[in-house]
Amino acid sequence: MKNTDTIQLESDVSAKTVVALPERTKALGMYESMVRIRKYEEQIYFLFLEGRISGSIHQSHGQEACAVGVLYDTRPTDYMASTHRPAGHDLAKGVSLRAMMCEMFGKANGCCHGKGGAMHMGDISVGAVPANAIVGSNIPIAVGMAYSCKLRRTDDIVVCFFGDGATNEGGFHEGINGAALWDLPVVFVCENNFYGASTHVQATMKVQTIAERAAAYGIPGERIDGNDLMAVNEAATRAIARARRGGGPTLLELMTYRIAGHSRSDASAYRPDDEESAWLARDPIKLFRGRLVEEKVATDAELDAIENSVQEEVDGAVQFAESSQDPEPEDALRNVYAGEGEV
């Protein structure tokens, strides 16, 4: 419950050496990917406020560096298993923003044909399996996908995201133990944003870090500043390489913060203002943009152009989605079972 941890963590993290920026194409690609997530989720939030879409969403606002840092260098044939907070992961993995927007509008051409919704977004064709709204349950599933890579002798890997809260689920224990036992190609990525819904991570476990839990399974665990895109990318690169070469899983703990509430209706009353503002100051997109400009990889004008073009993409997606067809009510009866006329 000690929120002083936040500060400790920052000092932990700043002690590490700064990871160099990548070449310009990748740098700009990563920037664009983070901006895409931010603008997509902001748009969704406005659509809710305006009553144009219904249901709920869990925004990853503030956690964009985790998604992009980990996923930027993965292949479409690598799998990615996400959670109730999947939009960032999906976009970073390459799911079509339009198809996701259509899904949010409940349209027939949504990435899950309107059946999944915000918490089940995914597109298997780019390796993003339908996201999982049962906290922790995507972990054993990810292990099974990794086992399939092993059986098929590919060098594809699986990235499995979950939150700090999920690490107290039985599925975390069973899943990571299995992956460790068989040296399976999974990168377990815990986005530690300090809260599971309204409950602080330190009120849910006695240990100080989640990374240290890796030891119970005999695999490496590492804590990283999740708002530092390049630090995330560097750690992910190592973990992914290890997984690809059959070296087994890694547990990465990315220290980050969700700027928005837990879900649409949450005002985050449980979070101290100074904690929120300290993290707001460490907005991962701002931080990365700062470096890009400072280290002269890109100019402000170039980066603004990226932002504008992404905004257009998002606006276009909204228009496209709104003008798309609703599913027929009876479509609800399809896709329960494969085969037999798709009933």
Partner: protein, 338 residues
């Protein structure tokens, strides 16, 4: 009499029982509202932390087996825990603790151990997709050793929950998200506010209630579907079809007698629930009547239920899957022609 929502009624029941009996305590994810916490995903336990402190309003890690296992263990040791896992769908994460442990423990001990615990679980579809939508009563009416209740009014919510807390057996309480009437209203939510006596009262298990009298068709419906049945009945009245609407209130034990009594008059039975058609709780009721009182019937038994699909997210499909007032009306009209 005070008027209140179901959320308020449930909250009062818990608060009063906690004050009355120090063995009663709450546990679950985000059940405490200390320091800006939720006080339950649907605010049912709001304010209890202030009254009873953190030990009796225990915020837990996200660990459903822990939550329910602790409830089982504490109950066996003489406490009266009230467990919460936020959404009914998550009960599958701790099904062993409910079906293999809570339900069987008393029996396996030859009656020497009791498990007086309450498991609260919200059900119903609210546009959040298949893993936050299931109506799963039928899973638990299938597990001897468990009691299963489903209050649909503020009066019943308070009275049945008190009975559940005082009961010496494990009781599952299914609450409907669209009936809570609390702060977190949803599209499709009914703003249910009802009279609740100020004095202490309980509602017994195994006693359904006739929500509306009628003479042509007996409609048995629970939770949200009970209200849709009431709306349908009102409309059908204009057609001169008179429906008797029964809210079973508790599913295990089930008040078969009340249904049978009603059938003596109406001789036609319709069962409506949001639980799935295949093996939903209504299957057992229909089967029971077909076994014991088939001669009372002048027509086939009509069942309306969620279609046999996971719940889709898009509103247009979700609406289609759950029985609507219109579907009930149509079914009643055709039932009268049989």
């Amino acid at each position: 009499m005070p008027q209140m929502s179901i959320v308020e009624a449930l909250n009062q029941a818990i608060a009063e029982e906690m004050a009355r009996d120090e063995r009663v305590f709450c546990l679950g994810e985000d059940v405490s509202d200390a320091n800006g916490g939720y006080g339950g995903a649907f605010a049912v336990t709001r304010g209890l932390h202030g009254k009873f402190g953190p030990e009796r309003v225990l915020n837990t890690p996200i660990s459903e087996m822990l939550i329910v296992g602790m409830a089982v263990g504490a109950a066996m040791a003489g406490m009266r825990p009230i467990a919460d896992v936020q959404y009914g769908d998550f009960l599958f994460c701790c099904m062993d603790q409910l079906v293999n442990q809570a339900a069987k423990m008393r029996y396996m001990s030859g009656g020497r151990v009791s498990v007086p615990m309450v498991m609260r679980a919200p059900v119903g579809a609210t546009g959040r997709g298949a893993q936050h939508a299931q109506s799963l009563e039928g899973f638990f009416t299938h597990a001897p050793g468990l009691k299963v209740i489903c209050p649909a009014t503020a009066y019943d919510a308070k009275g049945l929950l008190k009975t559940a807390i005082r009961d010496d057996n494990p009781v599952l309480v299914f609450e409907h998200k669209l009936l809570y009437g609390g702060k977190r209203t949803e599209s499709g939510a009914l703003s249910m506010v009802g009279e609740v006596p100020a004095e202490d009262y309980t509602v017994p298990f195994g006693r359904g209630v006739v929500r509306r009298e009628g003479k042509d068709i007996t409609i048995v419906a629970n939770l949200l579907m009970m209200y849709r049945a009431m709306d349908a009945a009102a409309e059908l009245d204009e057609d001169d079809i008179s429906c008797e609407v029964i809210d079973p209130r508790t599913l295990a034990p089930f008040d078969y007698e009340l249904v049978i009594e009603s059938l003596r008059k109406t001789r036609r039975l319709m069962i409506v629930h949001e639980d799935t058609y295949s093996n939903g709780w209504g299957a057992q009721l229909a089967s029971y009547i077909a076994e014991h009182e088939i001669y009372l019937l002048d027509a086939p038994i009509k069942r309306l239920a969620a279609y046999d699909v996971p719940i889709p997210c898009a509103p247009v499909m979700e609406k289609f899957v759950i029985p609507s007032t219109a579907r009930i009306i149509d079914a009643a009209r055709s039932l009268m022609k049989m």
